[in-house]
Every structure is written in structure tokens, then in C-alpha cells.
């Protein structure tokens, strides 16, 4: 299995919704954090529910280390046309969802408009 980023590559992990559906919350969070700490960008074919996201943040906080991990950046694609208000956006499951999660020092400036989500990924050299 790849060790993550080297000087020239950024590794993306796409995780299908059918796999996510089979995973318990703790397992999902562990998978995400393990990958992100290996400097991978994780793309979920779904959105975590609020409880899962809050637990992801809680787990992230416990694993932040000043030497090599300062946290995550997370952004979910939202369908702006069909939902109004923040709660409706979270609960609307009619359209495919997508979530991008990466190391906070690499995944920058995630923006989205109606149909396109863009993210800037900085490719930092591995520390020797």
C-alpha cells in the first residue's frame, strides 16, 4: 500500500457510499484519520451525519500533534438549489453527496458554486 505523498504526488482516496454504509462510526472515523495523517486526500461518496462529524472533530482534536498533525479540512458538497437553511441542507438526501477531507496544511480553499466544487491542494515535501 502506498505510503502517502512523496515529493511529486498527492494521493486521493475515493470511498464509495456502499462501503461507507457498512462501516460503524468509529471505523469510519479511524479510516479517515489514518488516511489523512498519511497525507492523503479522502473523498467520500456521501456526507457524514452531524453526530459522526462532531465525533470526527473530537477525535481529530485528540490526535493533533504539534510535530506532524495540525488537524483536518473538511467540506461537503451541498445542493444549493433544493435546500434552504442549513438544517435542510444537511438532511436533504435526494442528490448524491460528496465530502472531501484532507490535512489542514495541504487542503486549502475549498470552494463550491452550484455545480462545481474546487479545492486547492498544496504538495508539501515530506520531512526527512
Amino acid at each position: 500500500m502506498s505510503e502517502g505523498n512523496n515529493k511529486n504526488n498527492v494521493q486521493l482516496e475515493f470511498v464509495r457510499s456502499r462501503r461507507l454504509e457498512k462501516m460503524a462510526t468509529a471505523e469510519k472515523i479511524r479510516m479517515i484519520l489514518d488516511s489523512v495523517k498519511e497525507e492523503k486526500i479522502v473523498i467520500l461518496e456521501d456526507r457524514m451525519n452531524p453526530d459522526e462529524e462532531s465525533k470526527l472533530i473530537e477525535a481529530t482534536m485528540k490526535e493533533i500533534n504539534p510535530d506532524n498533525f495540525s488537524g483536518i479540512e473538511i467540506e461537503s458538497y451541498k445542493d444549493e438549489q433544493k435546500s434552504s437553511g442549513l438544517f435542510d441542507r444537511f438532511m436533504s438526501n435526494d442528490d448524491p453527496q460528496m465530502t472531501i477531507i484532507g490535512p489542514s496544511n495541504q487542503l486549502n480553499e475549498v470552494n463550491q458554486d452550484e455545480d462545481i466544487m474546487t479545492a486547492m491542494i498544496s504538495n508539501e515535501e515530506e520531512q526527512g
Binding site: N49, P50, D51, E53, S54, K55, I57, E58, T60, M61, K62, I64, P66, S70, G71, I72, E73, I74, E75, S76, K78, S84, G85, L86, F87, R89, F90, M91, S104, N105
Partner: protein, 223 residues
């Protein structure tokens, strides 16, 4: 205390099952601590006349702009409001702004920070513990939420969506404050559009604007 009774007359009518722990949540730098301090101060009878207001504003305005100034959940117990001879008591819990990342190097960049790298690392450790604690509290130990937003900023963020989602799933009553209405870029309507199912109260915690409407909404939603 007579001044306080007059100010809050008719607003605080708590039933027997009034929430005990009211969490003040919101993004970093939205004014949570300023609001908490004002609520606590006003509960002791301060505020209202010009001199008191000036002193309050000076104290509220001295909040640090160093990141993660509030690093742990700070519970102000037994905040008591007297109304028509009856006392209403709340525990007000000021929480750190929820973030997904904490970098100790942010602290050393600020002129106001006079510590060294070790102090910055310790501060960041406290901040991570505080955010983790705030998330745990939100999922179990909070009876009501005052969600404080900076009305000059876009409310449609991942974190706001997540926190409000937890509040909904926990079936916790909440009041949303659109803070910093004294600032030029304030846009309260944008916040009302983001939270159509909640009372959105425009306030300035720093200058004490519209506190009466806030207290009224708190009594209606948490009573």
C-alpha cells in the same frame, strides 16, 4: 437590583423544567465570550445607565484577538436573574469556537502573544482539549444552546451546518444570535435565511444592543 427587575420585567418566566446548562456555541471570534461576560455582568445589576455601559463596553472590548482565547468550556454557575420577586437561575457555559484544526504556530504570529514556542504548544493543547470537550457536551450535557454568529460573515459553513445538525438531532432548544450588528458589513437577513426554523436575534454583545429581545427569546425557548 430594582433597576434589574425593571429591565427584565415580564421577560424571564421559567417553568419548573427550565434548562440548567445553556451552552454558548459558535465559530471562533463570533463574540461568545463577550456575550457570556455581558449576561453574567447584567445578571448582577450592571448595565443600563451611561456610566455602567461605558465600563461594561470597555471591559467587553478588551477581549483578546489571539486565537483560541477561550480554550476550555467555562461554566458560569448560578447566573441568577430576579423577576417579580422570583429568581431564575441558569448555568451559562462559554465554549471554545469549534474548529477542525489547531496550529500552535498561529499563536506566535500575534503581537499580543508574549509567550514562547512551549507556551504556544501548551495553549494549542488546551485548545484541542477544549474543542473536544465542547463537542462532547453538545451531544449530552447541554439543555439549551445560544448559537452566536458574526453577522458580517457567511453563515453557510460546514461547521455551522454540523453543529446545528447536532442540536437538531439532540432535540435541544436553541436561539441564534446575529452578533456584531454594530459593524458596517452586518447582514442579519443572510443569517435568518440560513436558520429559518430558529429565532434569529440581532445583537451587539459588545455594545449591549437589543439584549432585551435576546432575553425574551431565551425565556420563550428555554422556559
Amino acid at each position: 437590583m430594582d433597576k434589574l427587575k425593571g429591565k427584565f420585567s415580564g421577560w424571564f418566566v421559567f417553568g419548573e423544567s427550565a434548562p440548567e446548562n445553556i451552552g454558548i456555541y459558535g465559530p471562533p471570534n463570533s463574540g461568545k465570550t463577550t456575550l457570556t461576560n455581558r449576561i453574567v455582568k447584567e445578571s448582577t445589576g450592571l448595565g443600563g445607565d451611561e456610566q455602567d455601559e461605558e465600563e461594561l463596553e470597555e471591559e467587553m472590548g478588551s477581549a483578546s484577538h489571539i486565537p483560541h482565547e477561550t480554550r476550555r468550556a467555562d461554566k458560569k454557575e448560578d447566573v441568577t436573574i430576579e423577576h417579580d420577586g422570583e429568581e431564575v437561575t441558569l448555568n451559562v457555559v462559554d465554549t471554545p469556537g469549534v474548529e477542525t484544526q489547531v496550529d500552535y504556530e498561529e499563536f506566535v504570529e500575534y503581537d499580543d502573544f508574549d509567550g514562547d514556542e512551549e507556551d504556544a504548544i501548551e495553549r494549542s493543547r488546551e485548545a484541542t482539549e477544549g474543542i473536544s470537550e465542547a463537542m462532547r457536551w453538545l451531544r449530552g450535557d447541554i439543555d439549551g444552546v445560544i448559537y452566536v454568529l458574526d453577522s458580517t460573515k457567511d453563515p453557510f459553513t460546514q461547521l455551522n451546518t454540523m453543529v446545528m445538525g447536532v442540536i437538531e438531532s439532540e432535540d435541544v432548544p436553541a436561539v441564534v444570535l446575529a452578533n456584531k450588528v454594530d459593524e458596517e458589513d452586518s447582514n442579519v437577513e443572510r443569517i435568518r435565511n440560513a436558520f429559518p426554523q430558529y429565532d434569529v436575534i440581532p445583537v451587539s454583545a459588545l455594545h449591549g444592543e437589543n439584549m432585551e429581545e435576546m432575553y425574551k427569546s431565551i425565556s420563550e425557548n428555554f422556559g
